[in-house]
Subunit: 313 residues, 2 copies
């Protein structure tokens, strides 16, 4: 068999834009990250992205396609960015068209969570599954859905927003007016805030300085009961949202990634228990619950893989 | 164009099995219903179903296929019934194989809510949509999902169970151990029970004899504030579950049917308000919220349409 084709994957984040040369599931070379907020307009940032890609192509002449994962809503068919969550100015930007014209390569642009899901589906923990739900737990909670062996993007390419789905119809009011959004309970910041409240309620102040998920995981590993209680609660709330995706979509597998998932069994054990306890036979028999295979590189690898597949390469 | 082919649709319910001859979206002839609970075994009931179909074929010789909607889990590809919710003995019954052998016609068997959704998608309110969520509100709350222009059945053909999805992670304990299942709030019986509790809490006894959804709709139309409050609550809880399907699937349209939906604007107005208030642009712009086109006949018509499509007729 011939060597797998090279592609460039771009992981466009609210803080930095990371660009890598990808072969299969590996990033074989990387450009220095671009600081997203240094740019006042999409046009300037796009110029810098184009230069960055061209620099990498000098070293890797056989790059065949470019994929980009964007933190917001993208018209996947047209390659137009509707708007980004934390980056101003990106309204109705014909990203794919502009990059294709300048680079002379096929370009694919999709939502970043979809790119992560694509990496897990094509090359990672959910490889080859026909029915798969992927979720990434970080500052935000994002997701991607594969159903009937296809990426499920929906009417306006916005599907997979598991973090905005509700776990409590009378719950906290979220960014979009939605009550009880999962992200408003188990996003990074909310985990820390709720942990601080739990320590305060117990009259314990020693842990309050750092209640990040990483610090909470350390405390729990040392047997801290409040930290353990926090992880049980996180697992329970995540289980409710994922249970809902199971009743709706009946997936074969659930893949969980993102920084919060690095807590490992502290998260997966209560998650699994709360989830399986609330599902009937055809929904839980043979259901695989898997940690993501990719870490921070998921978006880059997934964008590259998507670009090659869309170009038929 | 030639006339549409005839098919027989069977709507297998916990109380009765209804069999009709269908042309397009119309039931042109019907057999007397079979009382489901009169039979001790699947074998005997299947014999009666076969006789019923054969009787109809005497009058309608050009019937080309038979479709059956079952109230439970069906392996759609193999046509095997795993188990039914309210009918004993239907475990691992090779329904399609047996009927095909006896009838000499192509047979399709699917979950009843999927058949209803199929009718709405192919011939009803959601006709021709590529991304559609259908929900039927009755004693149970069932659903069917169309994504990427295909019925979404999932790994074990059990997808679409919107009624089992949770609206409250700390809520009521449901049949499958799931907390906060929508059906446990807005199923027929739960609507009545909660309405009685609301009247009692207000010290009003005149309505307590009949708090069925139909009676509650009558009371609300006369301006009864408690009944109006009940409908707002039902709309709100339904909105949470459907909002979750929107964030996950980004459908073009939502179709709502079943007996409870006959309340019309009493349900649809609060539902629409609570739903749209909790969704962002790409999820709510152009989202169609539609009453089902079919009533009780949805299952029969959908099963017949599905059978013809599956047989390539």
């Amino acid at each position: 068999m011939s060597e797998k084709p090279l592609a460039i994957g771009i992981d466009f984040g609210g803080t930095s834009v990371k660009t890598g040369v990808v072969r299969g599931h590996e990033i074989i070379d990387q450009a220095p990250p671009i600081a997203t907020q240094d740019f006042d307009s999409p046009g300037e940032l796009m110029q810098t992205m184009i230069r960055t890609v061209e620099d990498l192509r000098v070293r890797h002449g056989s790059v065949r396609a470019v994929g980009i994962g964007m933190p917001g809503f993208v018209d996947f068919e047209k390659g137009v960015v509707f708007g980004l969550t934390n980056v101003r100015g990106w309204e109705n930007v014909p990203l794919r068209e502009e990059l294709q014209a300048k680079l002379g390569l096929p370009v694919a642009a999709d939502n970043d969570a979809n790119c992560m899901a694509y990496a897990e589906w094509k090359l990672g923990a959910g490889k080859g599954r026909r029915h798969l739900v992927c979720v990434a737990l970080g500052t935000g909670v994002g997701g991607g859905i594969i159903a009937n062996g296809q990426m499920l993007r929906g009417a306006k390419f916005a599907a997979g927003e598991i973090g905005q789905s509700s776990i409590d119809y009378q719950g906290r009011k979220g960014h979009y007016g939605n009550l009880g959004a999962l992200e408003d309970y188990i996003g990074n910041r909310e985990i820390a805030r709720d942990a601080i409240a739990a320590y305060e309620a117990a009259g314990i102040t020693k842990h309050i300085e750092d209640c990040s998920p990483a610090a909470l995981a350390e405390a729990a590993k040392l047997g801290d009961k409040i930290a353990l209680g926090c992880w049980d609660g996180i697992g329970r709330m995540l289980a409710t949202a994922m249970m809902n995706t199971c009743w709706l979509l009946n997936p074969e597998a659930i893949v969980i990634g993102g920084g919060v998932a690095r807590a490992g069994d502290l998260l997966f054990t209560p998650f699994r228990e709360h989830l399986l306890r609330q599902l009937s036979g055809p929904f839980k028999d043979d259901l695989a619950i898997l940690p993501a295979a990719f870490g921070h590189e998921a978006g880059t690898v997934g964008a590259a893989a998507l670009a090659l597949d869309e170009a038929g390469l």
